[in-house]
C-alpha cells in the first residue's frame, strides 16, 4: 500500500512540475494545487499507513492508526484551499489588467515599466 501511494505521489509531483514549468498562468496554478495534493498524500504516507483500530483509548487495542498525520493534513488542506482561492482571484485581476496569461510576456523590469 505504501508503495502504491508512493508511485501515485510521484505521478502527482511529475504532473505538477510539468504544469508549473508551462507558460500559461492558469496551468501553473493547477500545477501548484497538484503539488500540494502530492504533499498532503506524502504526509499521510510518511506517518505510516495501517493501524486497524481508531486512535481511541480502549482496553486491549494495540494496533491503532496514527492520528497526527490526519490532523496535519487537515490543516494543510485548509491552508492550500485558501491560498489557491487567493491566487485565482489575483490571476483574474492580473489578466484583466495585463490582457495576457503568458508568463513570458509578464517579465518586465524597471526599464520596461
Amino acid at each position: 500500500m505504501e508503495l502504491l501511494l508512493a508511485i501515485l505521489i510521484g505521478i502527482l509531483f511529475t504532473a505538477a512540475v510539468y504544469l508549473i514549468l508551462s507558460r500559461s498562468l492558469l496551468k501553473v496554478i493547477l500545477g501548484t494545487s497538484l503539488l500540494s495534493h502530492g504533499a498532503h498524500l506524502l504526509i499521510l504516507t510518511m506517518g505510516g499507513l495501517g493501524g486497524s483500530a481508531p486512535p481511541v483509548l480502549i482496553d486491549g487495542v494495540t494496533d491503532f492508526a496514527d492520528p497526527l498525520p490526519q490532523a496535519l493534513i487537515l490543516t494543510a488542506i485548509v491552508i492550500s484551499f485558501g491560498v489557491t482561492a487567493v491566487i485565482l482571484v489575483m490571476a483574474y485581476r492580473m489578466y484583466s489588467v495585463h490582457k495576457t496569461d503568458n508568463m513570458n510576456e509578464l517579465r518586465g523590469n524597471d526599464e520596461h515599466d
Binding site: 498562468l25 501548484t32 500540494s36
Partner: protein, 498 residues
C-alpha cells in the same frame, strides 16, 4: 501573578486588534488610533517578556496543558524574545510613517489589519517550538503579505505579486514535504523532541538530506543564493512602507528558521551541512554585492543590500562558535533596524524628488540637509563604521570566522563591507551632492508632510545609533541568545523537563 501565558501576548494582541479593525473599514482615523494602541500594548508585552526571559530563563507554554512533546509548545528564549521586540518596534515606526505616505485608498482597504495579521504570523514563527506550527505561522504571515504586496492593484504590483505568490506557494509545499519526511524519521513535531531524537539515531545520511531540504525551503523565503531570484523584482513593486516591512522583517523570518534548525536539529554532521551553508552564504554575499553596484535605482540598491546581509548573518551561523553566533544574533537585529531606517529614508528621498532613478537627482543637501545627514548616518551604520551597530556585528562574525579557520570567508566578508559602503555612498553622492539637475526640477511637495515623514525616520536612525553605542549594555542579552543556539540542551531542558 502567575503569567505563564506572557509569551503569547505579542502574538495575540496584534491578532486581536487586527480582528477589531476589520469592523472599521471606512473609519480611517479609528483604524490608525487602534493600530497604534495595539502596537504599543504589544511592545510593552514584548519588553516585559524580554525582561522575564532575562531574569528567569526560557519561557515555555504547551497549549491545552498537554505534556510537552504531545501538545503544541510555544518557546520564548532570548533569541526569539529579542526578535519579537525588534519586529514590533519596527512595525510601530513604519505605521507612523504610513500615515502620511500610504494614501487613504489603501488605508480604507484593510492595510492596517493586514500589517497586524502579518505581525501575528512573524511573532508566532519566532516563538513557536513546533515545526508544523511554524509552517502554519509562515502561512499566516504569507497570506497577509500577499494582501500587502498587491494592495493598490497597480499594473506592476499585479504582475510582480503573482510571481511572489507562486514562488511562496511552491516553497510552502516543499515545507510540508520536508516536515513529512522529518516526521517519518523521528516521529515527533516538537522541536526540542526532534533535536533529542535526531541525536539518538546517530545521524544517518537522510538527516543531511533533510538539512538541505530545509535549507531550500527557508532559503527561498530568506533569499539565499541561488534562491533569491524572485526578491528584487517582487520587493520593488509595493509602496515604500510595505517594502520596508518586507525588507526588514520577512526575509529575516527565513534567516531565523535556518538559524534555529541549523543550531537545534542539524548539529551532528557540521562538516557537511554547515560547510554547505558557509559556501552558500559567501555566494549570497557576492551575488548581492554585484546587484547592489549594478543598479541606478534607489530601491534596487537597498534591496540587494538585504541579500548581502542575509549572507553575512548566515556566515556567522555557519561558524558554530561563540563569536560567530553572537555576531549573527547581533547583526540580525542590527540589520532589521538599519534596513527599516534606510528604506524609510529612501522613501522620503523618492517623495521629495518624485523619482527613484539616481541619474535624475542631485543637490538635495541644499534643500533637505537633515535628510542628507540622517541618511549618511544610516549608510555608515549599514556599512559598519564604528561606533555604529554594523561594526560590532561584523567584528564578532569575522572574529568567529578566523577562530574557525575560515580566513578566506572572513576576508570576503570584509571586502563586501567596502562594496556595501560604496553602494550606499553612491546614493549619497548622486542624490545629495553637486548641483540640482536642471532637467528634473523638484516637484512641489508639502513641507508639513515632509516633516511628518521625517519624524519616524529620525527616530529609527536614533534607535540604530543607540543600538550601536549601547552595545555594552545589550551584550548580556545577545550572549544569552547565542548561548541557547550554541548549546541545544538549554533549549531542550527548558521544553521537556517540566
Amino acid at each position: 501573578m502567575n503569567m505563564i501565558n506572557l509569551l503569547l501576548f505579542p502574538i495575540i494582541i496584534p491578532f486581536f486588534f487586527a480582528m477589531i479593525l476589520l469592523f472599521f473599514k471606512e473609519q480611517v482615523v479609528i483604524q490608525r488610533v487602534l493600530t497604534v494602541i495595539g502596537l504599543t500594548l504589544s511592545l510593552v508585552a514584548s519588553i516585559w517578556l524580554l525582561v522575564t526571559v532575562k531574569a528567569e530563563g526560557i519561557q515555555t507554554v504547551t497549549l491545552g496543558s498537554w505534556p510537552a512533546p504531545f501538545g503544541i509548545t510555544m518557546v520564548s528564549d532570548m533569541f526569539s524574545a529579542l526578535l519579537v521586540t525588534t519586529t514590533i518596534l519596527i512595525t510601530f515606526f513604519v505605521v507612523l510613517y504610513s500615515f502620511q505616505s500610504i494614501g487613504i485608498e489603501r488605508e480604507r482597504f484593510f492595510y492596517y489589519p493586514a500589517i497586524l495579521f502579518m505581525i501575528t504570523g512573524i511573532n508566532g514563527a519566532f516563538t513557536t517550538g513546533d515545526i508544523f506550527n511554524m509552517f502554519v505561522f509562515f502561512e499566516v504571515l504569507l497570506i497577509a503579505s500577499y494582501l500587502l504586496i498587491v494592495l493598490g492593484g497597480e499594473k506592476r504590483q499585479l504582475r510582480e505579486s503573482i510571481k511572489y505568490i507562486l514562488v511562496n506557494v511552491i516553497s510552502s509545499a516543499l515545507f510540508v514535504i520536508a516536515v513529512a519526511y522529518l516526521y517519518s524519521i523521528v516521529g515527533t513535531l516538537n522541536m526540542a523532541d526532534i533535536s533529542v531524537k535526531i541525536a539518538e539515531i546517530n545521524q544517518p545520511g537522510i538527516i543531511s538530506v533533510l538539512a538541505i531540504l530545509f535549507l531550500i525551503v527557508f532559503g527561498i523565503k530568506g533569499a539565499i543564493f541561488p534562491l533569491y531570484f524572485w526578491l528584487p523584482g517582487s520587493y520593488a513593486a509595493p509602496p515604500i512602507p510595505v517594502l520596508t516591512l518586507f525588507g526588514a522583517l520577512l526575509t529575516k523570518v527565513g534567516v531565523y528558521a535556518i538559524t534555529r534548525t541549523y543550531t537545534l536539529f542539524f548539529v551532528h554532521d557540521i562538516g557537511f551541512t554547515h560547510q554547505f551553508l558557509l559556501v552558500l552564504s559567501l555566494l549570497t554575499i557576492v551575488a548581492g554585492c554585484i546587484g547592489a553596484l549594478a543598479y541606478f535605482d534607489l530601491k534596487q540598491i537597498i534591496i540587494y543590500n538585504i541579500v548581502i546581509a542575509v549572507g553575512v548573518i548566515l556566515f556567522g551561523v555557519a561558524q558554530m562558535n561563540t563569536s560567530g553566533l553572537e555576531g549573527a544574533v547581533y547583526y540580525l537585529i542590527h540589520d532589521m533596524l538599519i534596513k527599516a531606517a534606510l528604506f524609510v529614508l529612501i522613501g522620503i528621498i523618492i517623495y521629495v524628488t518624485g523619482t527613484s532613478n539616481l541619474r535624475e537627482m542631485g543637490g538635495l543637501i541644499k534643500s533637505h540637509a537633515a535628510l542628507g545627514w540622517f541618511y549618511l548616518i544610516a549608510a555608515f551604520g549599514l556599512a559598519g563604521i564604528p561606533p555604529l551597530s554594523g561594526f560590532i556585528g561584523k567584528l564578532l562574525i569575522v572574529k568567529g570566522g578566523f577562530e574557525a579557520d575560515n580566513a578566506f570567508g572572513s576576508i570576503v566578508l570584509l571586502v563586501s563591507s567596502l562594496v556595501v559602503l560604496l553602494s550606499v555612498i553612491r546614493i549619497f553622492i548622486y542624490a545629495f551632492w553637486g548641483p540640482q539637475n536642471p532637467d528634473y526640477p523638484l516637484p512641489v511637495t508639502s513641507k508639513r508632510t515632509y516633516r511628518q515623514l521625517m519624524a519616524p525616520a529620525v527616530l529609527l536612525v536614533l534607535v540604530t545609533v543607540a543600538y550601536g553605542v549601547g552595545t555594552e549594555w545589550l551584550m548580556p542579552y545577545i550572549s544569552d541568545a547565542s548561548d541557547v543556539l550554541r548549546d541545544p540542551s538549554i533549549y531542550i531542558n527548558a521544553v521537556l523537563k517540566e
